[in-house]
Symmetry: C2
Subunit: 341 residues, 2 copies
DNA sequence: TTGTAGGCGTTATCAA
DNA sequence: TTGATAACGCCTACAA
């Protein structure tokens, strides 16, 4: 058994509570005692048992991260690696610890979350997605457990602290860029329509077209759940249309990579034959062939802000609900060209 | 305050210990009592406090994951996302929970690890890298704390359970493939030589050349720490040699993407002007332009096996030390060509 | 400034 | 088959 506070107390000829106070650096302990106790701690190699501390404090100093589904797409997409980097950065400063859900289905994830919440394993959670009718968020809300959402809630927006991009504008600007290049036949390739991002970006796309007086061609709208393979057939069909699009707005860089691949299989050249704008500006956007014009959404910052506000909320339950919008920016690279050039 | 075992006990007219036994589904409790107690638990909405359980059990049912350095390259590289997927999968089945280090420097990471170990926060750890003189592994060894290494130890190989690929063979085979295609001027682009993977793959490269009777040209050897940018200058120099290589063995798909980019900037075509073989066969290898010929090392399996053996070790401290080698396989795609074709 | 004692929620030992 | 009771290691009134 490891050395405990009692061992230290005994060896230093003080009471356990004194040792505890020394650890907390309480001002009510004389410098001399502190020195003495610290010396003993050092000698005995004392280290606090966090579990015991958590129990006594009713606080674990841990934060749980909820992924949409660890098994499949989630980890594949650098978006998550990148938010994680941000979160990790924030957490490390505040000396919190990170916990993960590992469930593969919504049901399993819900179980993980319940375990964390009821089990007092974490003090708060970060939800990395916003999905329609999601039981996990519903649970968190019901329990009134501290959490922040990365994304935009479907409802109760005023009650849920969330950090998000203005995805409508982001998509609108991306589309407008294409329109300025002379494109009027613009396809939209999105993910699962159950996610708020998908909807918001679609909305931005629609607005841009509307403002430009371009009618939406429903045939140009594709929704595929799978990052890479899924879009393949759909993109092919799209390109085989009598009147195929001359530009594509793709919801995600990774999906865009898949699209690029399919396009090249079809013998279509980007940007000569068709222009592509995507979102997220993940590392690979720059590395793609051609380098992708992509809307940078500051994923890292998304993560940083999420922890920041979560911790505020944890440490001060009365903290007001907040809505943080992280700026975005279109990064122009080589995947677009003026139409008919 | 949440409902505890005592509340349940009171409401069900039994002792707390009885409730505890019901939770553990002890065979020494009558079915009737179990039913009764379970009903009350249900009604009251009881959920066990994991922290308290951990304290009583002296076991947290949690596993810590150690990244080389969360701040920089680590999360960027899909290798880690992919092992994580494997780990996550394994962990979820066994109902363990995952914890992460968030430190950015070796020193910070060591602190994280100490906190987890001494704080009894995790029952075991998975170390995701093998670096020369790494203080983290040293610590784990000294403490005799259950851990498994993903990679090959620099020393004490017989004492450290590790799961790894046969990276020497992997690199040898990759190189041999290039040699079979007629290449004799083969460059090696590696990462930090402090990591075991780098050394092993370099060794495999050397052996292949030796067996083929090709002398090693030290000018063809590059070591860059940074995933993408780092290689740039070095690759340029390499290609500006009087006698530039006709093929490149790149230690990592992601780095290979960077190389591809640099090559294209130099006006060199892959595979026409130069062939490229890389390692890991991460999702993006297939998506690259051209699709990369890469040595698949079964990253997912690496993760699965790591948890599996860690948990065995945790649950049975006498478990013998193991060395698990995960098979690899060269995946031929479009980034190589016979020389002079 | 320091010590005593009770509590955090479970589990486990020992009786009954 | 069940109940009392003492841990697990730490924190914090309250006392001294």
């Amino acid at each position: 058994m490891a050395v405990t506070i009692k061992d230290v107390a005994k060896a230093a000829n003080v009471a356990p509570s004194t040792v505890s106070r020394v650890i907390a650096d309480s001002p009510r302990i004389s410098e001399e005692t502190k020195r003495k106790v610290r010396k003993v701690m050092e000698e005995l190699g004392y280290h606090p048992n966090m579990i015991a501390r958590s129990l006594a404090n009713q606080s674990s100093k841990a934060i749980g991260i909820i992924f949409p589904n660890s098994g499949n797409t989630a980890f594949q997409n650098p978006f998550f690696s990148e938010v994680l980097r941000g979160i990790s950065e924030g957490v490390s400063e505040k000396h919190y610890i990170l916990q993960f859900t590992t469930g593969r289905t919504e049901e399993e994830i819900l179980q993980d979350v319940k375990k964390m919440v009821f089990g007092r394993v974490v003090d708060g959670m970060i939800l990395l997605y916003s999905k329609l009718g999601d039981s996990v968020m519903k649970f968190l809300k019901e329990q009134n457990f501290p959490f922040v959402l990365v994304g935009k809630p479907f409802e109760d927006s005023e009650v849920i602290t969330h950090v998000d991009n203005d995805n409508i504008s982001a998509a609108k600007e991306g589309t407008e860029y294409l329109i300025r290049l002379g494109h009027r036949k613009i396809g939209f390739i999105g993910g699962d329509i159950g996610f708020m991002v998908t909807r918001n970006r679609l909305e931005g796309y629609r607005r841009a077209l509307a403002e430009a007086g371009i009618p939406v061609n429903e045939k140009y709208l594709i929704h595929e759940e799978f990052l890479l393979e899924g879009g393949k057939e759909a993109v092919k069909e799209l390109m085989l249309l009598d009147d195929p699009p001359t530009a594509l707005l793709v919801i995600d860089d990774i999906m865009a990579l898949g699209v690029l691949k399919t396009l090249s299989e079809l013998g279509k050249k980007v940007p000569e034959d068709i222009s592509v704008v995507s979102f997220n500006n993940v590392l690979f956007a720059e590395l793609a062939q051609p380098p992708l014009t992509s809307v940078d959404i500051n994923i890292f910052t998304l993560g940083i802000e999420a922890v920041k506000h979560l911790i505020q909320k944890i440490e001060n339950p009365k903290e007001p609900v907040k809505r943080i919008i992280i700026p975005h920016r279109l990064i122009v690279r080589k995947s677009c060209q003026a139409v008919g050039r």
